[in-house]
């Protein structure tokens, strides 16, 4: 309560702060620290350290970009899905990812950036997305492996983010995690159907798991002693657990699931450690990780080119929407409330897009 009051003070002072009041920043900082310590949520209009803001913009943008780029490897199989039921599930999933991207860009925008600006940075290669999406989907089973392993890793990473200190991000994560766990179960179920199917289908499932296992473990980021942002992010309660801790949690969850799937994990060193109460696992090829991160993975070039192409080829459509909104703003008030930012924002209120 006391911290909330202190933060309230800082907040009101932030609006009518007199010039040159030297101690005021320190006071804001104290109120911020107290709010974080008390597990309160930082909200968009609260004072926050510049570095906290920058870290969040970087992380939320990267997260949003991952949703958008992540549509590609799965969309690759929409037109080839082997049954109508699976096709519907996959389409719905890719649609959810676009929706997650939208939530996350909105969350990032509360920090004073814009979606357009972030997309420009993605297209210019100045902001990253998850390294996992630089791997190709070579068979139908990859769709299942992505659901089970990639979404599984994402959930392990993201559930703690529901308690992240920044309110808009935490709230976006609550919605996203619900849908992600649904996708993860669907992926598991897809692999199970293959694993119990014909020998060819079983082999397809095993091959996919063999190819996606290590990249999924890399999704947790570099080992703790090489993770440059971890300590600060944990102090700010953006992160709640270290990379290695989350990775261990994921391995512990996956081993029994792989057994019930009737599939093996491609790690000869994987075994239960009675003393630690965890599974021990083999060494990750960090050279591969850093290469993929640097842009030298199997699909980096292709993913970014495709994204840029969609954006560039769509420019005339966005321009048309903006021009139309500008022409019809006075004629139809309320339909294009935000012509100053982008025409399509106003437009979408009127289309089926908002139903999703």
């Amino acid at each position: 309560m006391a911290t909330a009051a202190a933060r309230e003070t800082a907040r009101s002072q932030a609006y009518d702060a007199p010039e040159g009041a030297g101690d005021i920043t320190a006071e804001y900082q104290r109120a911020f620290d107290a709010a974080v310590a008390a597990d309160e949520r930082i909200e968009p209009r609260d004072w926050m350290p510049d570095a906290y803001r920058a870290t969040l913009v970087r992380q939320i943008a990267q997260h949003a970009h991952s949703e958008i780029i992540g549509m590609q490897p799965e969309a690759n199989w929409i037109t080839r899905a082997p049954s109508l039921r699976r096709k519907a599930i996959l389409m719905a999933k890719v649609q959810d990812e676009a929706g997650h991207g939208l939530y996350l860009y909105s969350a990032a925008e509360t920090l004073g950036t814009s979606r357009d600006e972030l997309l420009d940075k993605l297209h210019a290669g100045r902001q990253k997305y998850s390294s996992i999406f630089n791997y190709p989907t070579l068979t139908w089973a990859d769709v299942g492996a992505i659901g089970w392993l990639v979404d599984g890793a994402a959930i392990t990473n993201q559930v703690p983010l529901c308690r992240c200190s920044y309110g808009p991000y935490a709230r976006a994560m609550v919605r996203i995690c619900k849908e992600e766990s649904f996708h993860q179960r669907q992926g598991y179920e897809l692999l199970l159907a293959l694993s119990k199917g014909t020998p060819e289908q079983h082999a397809m499932a095993q091959d996919a798991v063999d190819r996606w296992w290590w990249p999924s473990l890399m999704m947790f980021g570099p080992p703790d002693d090489e993770s440059q942002h971890s300590a600060q992010s944990m102090a700010w309660k953006i992160k709640r657990h270290s990379n290695d801790e989350l990775r261990q949690r994921f391995v512990d969850i996956c081993v029994p699931q792989a057994e019930s799937l009737g599939l093996t994990l491609p790690d000869p060193d994987l075994k239960w450690n009675e003393e630690r109460g965890h599974y021990d696992s083999g060494a990750i090829d960090w050279t591969e990780f850093w290469e993929v991160l640097k842009g030298n993975g199997p699909c980096n070039e292709e993913r970014l080119t495709r994204r840029r192409q969609a954006h560039e080829e769509g420019a005339w459509v966005r321009e048309a929407a903006a021009a139309y909104a500008a022409k019809h703003t006075t004629a139809r008030p309320g339909t294009s409330t935000s012509t100053s930012t982008s025409g399509e924002t106003g437009m979408n209120g009127e289309t089926g897009a908002t139903r999703a």
């Binding site: 958008i68 549509m71 590609q72 969309a75 929409i78 037109t79 080839r80 899905a81 082997p82 049954s83 109508l84 039921r85 699976r86 096709k87 519907a88 389409m91 719905a92 890719v94 649609q95 676009a98 929706g99 991207g101 939208l102 860009y105 979606r115 139908w140 897809l190 159907a193 293959l194 199917g197 014909t198 060819e200 289908q201 495709r306 192409q309 969609a310 954006h311 080829e313 769509g314 420019a315 005339w316 459509v317 966005r318 321009e319 048309a320 929407a321 903006a322 021009a323 139309y324 022409k327 019809h328 399509e344 437009m347 979408n348 009127e350 289309t351 089926g352 897009a353 139903r355 999703a356």
Partner: protein, 244 residues
């Protein structure tokens, strides 16, 4: 016996015609995933594709096994309109195809929903979905037509290019109790109104190509359709008799 089976055949044929339209257009819209001009359209196009796929599954199940019908029939056995199999082209082509088809589908399902035939329950649900699809297509037709010079030109080109596929929509389908002439004039009125409001001119060319009208309904398709099916069916056909 003969009358019953003739009736069943008519019902099956009608279910296939409606189901194939929805299946094929859904597939085309699915090709947009990851390629849309703006994120909201990723959501919107996938949403429409999913609605259509849902309709297709109900309709194909009325005619037989949905997966057998979708994945194991060859091109000549599909009963969809040539309009819905047309490649996406640019966004304007996709919108023109959506406009023509969703206005048609909305009128058709409204009529089917009002009757007491076997398609009434499905149509009652579908008509609500299609109302959104139609609104989406009309709103975009207005924005592209009355947007910039470039978008106007692209939209005009698209409505012209697809115009010749619109006549086949009104060839009577056996098993559907519909007044096709009334449907056609209502369609023309609506589409012409939208085109005018979008500052576009109503195309002047014929509404059917050199093929006899109703070709798609008879299993006569355009060249891109075979390639579309090859992609759609490949995996299913590679593993005969399996479940997924």
């Amino acid at each position: 016996m003969t009358t019953t089976s003739a009736k069943d055949t008519a019902l099956t044929q009608a279910a296939l015609a409606l189901g194939d339209d929805a299946l094929v257009l859904s597939h085309r819209l699915g090709e947009w995933a990851g390629n849309a001009p703006v994120l909201e359209e990723e959501v919107a196009l996938a949403n429409i594709a999913l609605d259509l796929l849902g309709q297709a599954r109900v309709l194909l199940s009325m005619a037989g096994d949905e997966d057998e019908l979708a994945f194991l029939r060859e091109e000549r056995a599909f009963r969809n309109l040539q309009l819905v199999e047309q490649p996406n082209g640019d966004f304007a082509h996709t919108i023109a195809r959506q406009l023509y088809f969703s206005v048609y589908q909305h009128l058709l399902h409204a009529e089917l929903a009002a009757g007491d035939g076997p398609f009434a329950p499905l149509a009652a649900k579908a008509v609500k979905e299609v109302d959104y699809h139609r609104d989406h297509a009309e709103q975009w037709t207005l924005r592209l037509g009355d947007g910039t010079e470039v978008s106007h030109e692209r939209m005009q080109r698209a409505v012209n290019a697809l115009w010749r596929f619109t006549g086949e929509m009104f060839q009577p389908v056996e098993g559907l109790d519909v007044n096709w002439q009334v449907l056609e004039s209502a369609w023309l009125e609506r589409v012409e109104d939208v085109l005018r409001r979008a500052t576009l001119s109503v195309p002047e060319g014929p509404r059917t190509g050199a093929w006899s009208a109703g070709a798609g309904r008879q299993g006569l398709h355009t060249e891109p359709f075979g390639r579309m099916l090859a992609e759609m069916q490949h995996l299913h056909r590679s593993h005969p008799g399996t479940t997924w």
